[in-house]
Amino acid sequence: MRFDSALGLESRRGPLATTGKVLIYGAMVVVFTGPLIGLLMSAFNKTLDPTSFSLWPDEFTLENFIKAQDKNVYLYLLNSFIVVGFGLLLQVLVSVFAAYSLARKKFRGMTFVMLLMLATMMLPEEIIAIPLSLVLADMPLLHVNLIGTYAGMILPVGAWGFSILVMTEFMKEVPVELEEAARIDGAGELRIFATIILPLCRPALGVIGVFGFTMIWDQYLLPLIVAPQSEMWTLPVALRSLRSDEEVGIGVLLAASLLALLPSIIAFLAFQRQFMRGLTSGAVKG
């Protein structure tokens, strides 16, 4: 007998075991993907009934996606992409720079900085939502108002403790000999960073990239605070306003929800290995 798992289900053979397994695994897939498949099907369904939610479209149509244009759904989608595009770029840059310092340098105060990073991870954004809105409206010292700007949605996600820590752990693994050899050849700090350390950290870039993407894409409270006027809404925030429509029922809402879901699902499926790796690194905080 083999013991690959605690229950040893896999080594059980025979018709009864097979049926049991098919039922269990089938039920799991249905329960966890059912609502998502239902959304996919219903978004292409032509119906006015607000309760309708089907696992198979009765009448295939693209009308929901066309009507979505009138409801500014594509504008919201564009806003979401602007925020996630610049936000992720900033977040990755900030993370690799900070990680380079934390992983490759020794300096006074490093333990304190590490503690600060951990503290930010213990401090969920929900808790500081109210004061954050006050700070964004009048940035201390700078006296800039970021409410109603893309910068107000992008800058607060720029530094993320999780990304910095994952990157730091990874950069510690790069052999110090490589760096020293480059230094002897006269390479400067930025050059070592860009040509030696970064290329070796490409797998970790995948991890923080895919996590950062889903994290920024899923932002809700921040854009809700920052964008009072509808032209600035991101797609997740806009969904609420699309609920009732006499002409197409919940069609536009379903189409928009699907558009809001797809990017993070695609990102997950495309970078699955990196995703699982980041997940099990044990440092994930919501």
Partner: protein
């Protein structure tokens, strides 16, 4: 460790004798690379935290100027029935979701443990809820929760012969319905982490148990579960904290209704802050939430330590 800085000064420095400039150059570079992160954290995490603490002691008025009220905002929170109910709902939701996801996650992890290719497919499919956008998923569930007979979930439970439920529409079931969706989204996450923990269980112990003739249950009870204990505590802390600060799920599904039956701390704080403009009380609410989170983390750590000792 000044010797490690020596190479930074270039080829001219003899080993062991760094020139003066190297002594500050190394740390300076380190701080320069850290600066963007620290600046962003300062502006968007630490300053808001202190502004929140500060404003919680004031009656915040936009045009009249802030008025010092001491701990009155906190007193309001502690004595106010609305806040009391919201705190209770947050705690119920957090613990219900946490325990539900943990138990189901562990069960499912045990069921789909193994290297087979089709199990990998099941895992991937089951994991999808975790990566989906909360607001969009909540809209989908809001439609599935439709209270009429034609609502999706009512049709499904109808197959099992259960009468249609009002779900989000009733004061008695709104909170439980939100919990159901949160468990749906939280279970695959816990499952994945448990699976990672199961990989670390020593296989030879299983074999030794089999040689001794131990049953599957005893194997689970004495080998598998003890090995998963650290994972369990990490998941418990993370999920409980996440549960306490829940916002989007409730905001989208019920916005606290009907009749405040599903109002949680964050939706109440949001309403106070952005709709009633009671920024002082809302800030105090944020601090209370922060303290609750902190207390929870410390208690769990202490329990863990005692158990380990």
């Amino acid at each position: 460790m000044t010797s490690t800085l020596a190479p930074a000064s270039g080829r001219t420095a003899a080993p062991g004798h760094p020139p003066k400039s190297a002594r500050w150059r190394g740390p300076l570079i380190a701080w320069l690379f850290l600066a963007p992160a620290l600046l962003l954290f300062l502006y968007f995490k630490f300053i808001p935290m202190f502004v929140g603490l500060w404003k919680s002691l004031f009656k915040v008025q936009t045009f009249l100027g802030d008025e010092w009220v001491g701990f009155q905002n906190y007193q309001t929170i502690i004595t106010d029935d609305e806040f009391g109910a919201a705190i209770w709902h947050s705690v119920v939701l957090a613990f219900g979701t946490t325990l539900g996801s943990l138990v189901l996650g562990l069960g499912l992890a045990l069921l789909i443990e193994g290297p087979a290719r089709y199990l990998w497919f099941v895992r991937t499919a089951a994991f999808l809820p975790v990566v989906t956008t909360m607001a969009a998923v909540a809209e989908v569930w809001r439609i599935m929760f439709h209270p009429a007979d034609s609502g999706m979930l009512n049709i499904v439970i109808g197959w099992a012969g259960v009468d249609p439920q009002p779900w989000l529409a009733s004061e008695d079931s709104s909170l439980m319905s939100i919990m159901l969706m949160s468990i749906w989204r939280g279970t695959p996450y816990d499952m994945m982490i448990f699976l990672a923990g199961l990989v670390g269980v020593n296989r030879s112990l299983y074999e030794a148990a089999a040689v001794d003739g131990a049953s599957t249950w005893r194997r689970l009870r004495h080998i598998t579960l003890p090995a998963l204990r650290p994972v369990f505590w990490i998941l418990f802390t993370l999920a409980a904290i996440r549960g306490l600060r829940v916002f989007v799920e409730v905001y989208v599904l019920t916005n606290g209704g009907p009749n405040g039956s599903s109002e949680v701390l964050m939706t109440l704080i949001y309403k106070l802050g952005f709709q009633k403009n009671e920024l002082g009380v809302a800030s105090a609410g944020g601090i209370v939430l922060f303290l609750a989170t902190l207390a929870l983390t410390v208690i769990v750590q202490m329990l863990r330590r005692r158990q380990a000792a």
